[in-house]
């Protein structure tokens, strides 16, 4: 459905960044910080009002990074016409049916595809790999079941409590890390908060307490 027909159908297209140039720049710096300092929480997309199903932080990631050269894949929970119309209009990004063809894989925690069902890159070009953007029910610096994170970008250890992901996610993430330099990177969003796990981040067992 095109944005024009969506508008005709009575659904009003939601706006993107109030100032596209500076909005995207500010969001990018937060995303870059998150990727460079895994486990840190970044405030992102607070001034956005995307359609239901798309959180402000996830919308900010799309508006900042997706375009005609960066295809998207959407989980069923994000498949509404309002969300598709929003992304097509503001990003002009192709939406693929096969997650393997997407540069950015957008999902909720329940609808997240298997990590190895997304583009992995190859040994010569590991950058040709997907970035998963996953909306989770809760995202905090610490709390029950918080992970201990180690790796590049972390001075000693960092801690991140993520709700809603499958219980075996740390094991799946270890499998992803074993593919280095190939593998996927992960951006976790919750409302207007965002954190990232690059493929180099190691998750160890939950912190006790």
């Amino acid at each position: 459905m095109t944005s024009a027909s969506q508008a005709a159908a009575g659904g009003r297209l939601k706006p993107g960044f109030a100032e596209p140039v500076h909005g995207a720049q500010q969001a990018f710096r937060r995303i870059l910080q998150a990727m460079a300092r895994p486990g840190t929480l970044q405030d992102c997309g607070r001034d956005l009002d995307p359609p239901p199903g798309l959180s402000p932080a996830m919308a900010a990631v799309c508006l900042t990074l997706a375009d005609a050269d960066a295809p998207l894949w959407l989980a069923p929970a994000l498949g509404s016409e309002a969300v598709q119309g929003y992304l097509k209009f503001h990003c002009n990004a192709p939406i693929r049916d096969d997650a393997r063809e997407a540069a950015f894989v957008l999902a909720d925690a329940a609808g997240m595809p298997a990590l190895d069902a997304c583009a992995q890159g190859c040994d010569r070009y590991p950058d040709r790999s997907a970035t998963l953007v996953v909306e989770v029910p809760s995202l905090a610096a610490d709390g029950r079941g918080a992970w201990r994170l180690q790796g590049p970008g972390i001075a000693s250890t960092a801690s991140l409590a993520v709700g809603g992901l499958p219980g075996d996610f740390p094991a799946r993430w270890r499998d992803n890390a074993a593919l280095f330099p190939c593998g996927v990177d992960l951006i976790l969003t919750q409302g207007h908060t965002l954190a990232a796990l690059p493929r180099t981040t190691r998750i160890s067992d939950p912190v006790e307490g």
């Binding site: 720049q25 990018f28 870059l32 460079a36 300092r37 990074l65 997706a66 590049p152």
Partner: protein
């Protein structure tokens, strides 16, 4: 360049260009490359480098990276061989003052983004700062293997024997590893990386630096990165450990014995003096009352 001239340039922001010169689609392309570069430390991400309004070799890669990260609230510092007042540094600083209207500074600790040609500032960087390097040849194996197909395969296999042999041949010929700049490093136990032509004196500062380090090579169309607090090891041998340059003199202006010194020829009779290459570091020491032999 004086603070007055800088503010004058900032007041005259040019019209007809997007913020920070590059168009938004180009910035998105570079931003996606930057994120993958951070996620794969030391790996050279290919990117669609644009023509810039200055020749290759003058920092086109660094400028494109800076333009893609720079925001209206940033304070930019640009250095060339450590100095804020050299042609390349003055030009690039004026370029961003005119196209982005950002604040500029020469003080290392005031800057949020520092673009550098061939030095790392002496003043320790913080976790609030981003250091952008201008890179001429991003491929550390290029002088050993000219074919890109092959070097890419060597990186993929982690096959770095060529580099070890090259360092060994230095020892066999000269009795030491003769590389003094662009000294190869291994990032986080993985990729071997060219740190750009910084003196090997600066290599220890790459290791576990709190700042994010981004590298842009415009002509060669590559971007790579070292995330904060990441292990960066200078290649060496157990019996020929890595070592940095030492001087048996101090800076002639500020008396510093812990900074990288440039040799300045002062006359036709063999006169010379050594001064700090980092002009901000030297200025600040002199302002604090430190003096060298020339004062």
């Amino acid at each position: 360049m004086s603070a007055h001239a800088d503010s004058l340039a900032a007041a005259q922001t040019v019209e007809g260009y997007n913020f920070a010169y590059l168009d938004e689609q180009t910035k998105r392309m570079i931003r996606r490359s930057l994120l993958k570069a951070v996620a794969i430390p030391g790996y050279q991400v290919p990117f669609a480098s644009r023509e810039m309004p200055l020749p290759y070799g003058w920092g086109t890669g660094g400028i494109q990276v800076t333009a893609s990260i720079l925001g209206a609230c940033d304070t930019l510092k640009v250095i060339d061989q450590g100095a804020d007042d050299t042609t390349n540094a003055v030009n690039i600083r004026a370029f961003f003052a005119r196209t982005a209207g950002v604040a500029t500074t020469t003080r290392t600790e005031e800057a949020s983004v520092i673009q550098t040609r061939h030095r790392i500032p002496e003043t320790p960087l913080t976790d609030q700062q981003i250091l952008v390097y201008q890179v001429p040849i991003p491929e550390p194996l290029r002088w050993l293997e000219p074919r890109e197909r092959e070097t890419r395969m060597l990186h993929a296999l982690g096959e770095y024997g060529l580099m070890q042999v090259s360092l060994y041949e230095d020892i066999a010929q000269h009795g030491r590893i003769a590389k003094t700049y662009n000294y190869p490093v291994q990032v986080s136990g993985g990729y071997i990386m060219a740190p750009s032509p910084i003196p090997k004196f600066d290599n220890p500062k790459l290791h576990r630096n709190p700042a994010l380090q981004l590298f842009g090579a415009g002509r060669e169309k590559r971007i790579y990165a070292v995330p904060p607090y990441t292990d960066v090891r200078s290649l060496d041998f157990d019996d020929y450990p890595f070592d940095v340059e030492h001087w048996d003199t101090a800076c002639a202006l500020c008396g510093a014995t812990d900074s990288y010194l440039d040799e300045i020829v002062t006359d036709d009779a063999g006169g010379r003096r050594y001064v700090c290459s980092d002009s901000d570091y030297c200025d600040r020491r002199r302002q604090a009352g430190d003096t060298g032999a020339a004062r």
